[in-house]
Amino acid sequence: MHLILFLIFAGFCLAGAVNLLLQTHPINSALSLIVVMSSLAVLYLLLGAEFLAIAQIIVYAGAVMVLFTFVVMLLNVGEEERTHGSKIYRVVGFPAVIVFFSVMTTVILEAQKHMRGISLKDAITTTQDLSRVLFRDMLLPFELTSVLILIAILGAVALARKEGHS
């Protein structure tokens, strides 16, 4: 059961990510990114992270992607122009990407010998467990993120405001 669910949603993830690259219109890319993020939420559930799965849906698939689609529609961005300004990315970028992926895969497959494998029968991390650690050991970082978000809101408003109005 776990294997089937993993294969289905990993497939959705990869299909969405590849579609994001292939689409030329930003709104289609944004919609495929929503598919990726929702499938990742299911994968988090399979890994026993129930709070993060819900947070992924609410924060990423909900808030962040709504912001993206909102901006795409607000600016009425058209089809992407296929200009080729820089050639460096072909010479340096793609080999670097391939090397990175090969190294990561080798390391992961090597490390697999020391790992148990994931089963649905494993204990899940409940929201209670998570909040216990979050509010006891991590209270200061948690409060700092709320300050960070406040600053981000103010910064976003200041940046997006039309010039000349006061």
Binding site: L3, F6, A10, C13, L14, A17, V18, L20, L21, P26, S29, A30, V36, M37, L43, Y44, L47, A49, Q56, Y60, A63, V64, F68, V71, V72, L75, V77, E80, E81, T83, H84, S86, Y89, G93, F94, V97, F101, M104, T105, L109, A111, Q112, M115, R116, G117, I118, S119, L120, T125, D129, L130, L134, L148, I149, A152, G155, A156, L159, A160, K162
Partner: protein
């Protein structure tokens, strides 16, 4: 192979694959807004690794780290999109090849 057990490495390789696709998108996409989406894809890929390792070692702090990454990503998306709107107002384009004032 047993149907109920998936090796950890599959999740980690999926994460590496998504990160790689994010980097490729960052390199080949020419629209500022899709470049920004590729960055979000990379952040999500790393989050998947964090959750997998947190599950493997029963470390709740790994999940809390993902929570913080999500919060920072949300803040970053708000500021980034505001910058995109400001750039579009000033330049009337989102093509990264035309927004290259700070490029060498």
């Amino acid at each position: 192979m047993h149907f109920d057990v998936v090796p950890d490495s599959w999740y980690l390789i999926l994460s590496a694959l998504l990160f790689t696709l994010g980097v490729v998108g960052f390199l080949i996409k020419r629209s500022l807004i899709t470049v920004f989406m590729s960055i979000e894809l990379m952040l999500n890929a790393v989050n998947l690794s964090f959750v997998t390792f947190a599950h493997e070692w029963h470390a709740v702090k790994g999940q809390i780290f993902v929570f913080f990454v999500m919060m920072v990503a949300a803040a970053e998306a708000a500021v980034g999109l505001a910058i995109i709107i400001a750039i579009f107002r000033a330049r009337a384009t989102l093509n990264v090849d035309q927004i290259d004032l700070m490029k060498l």
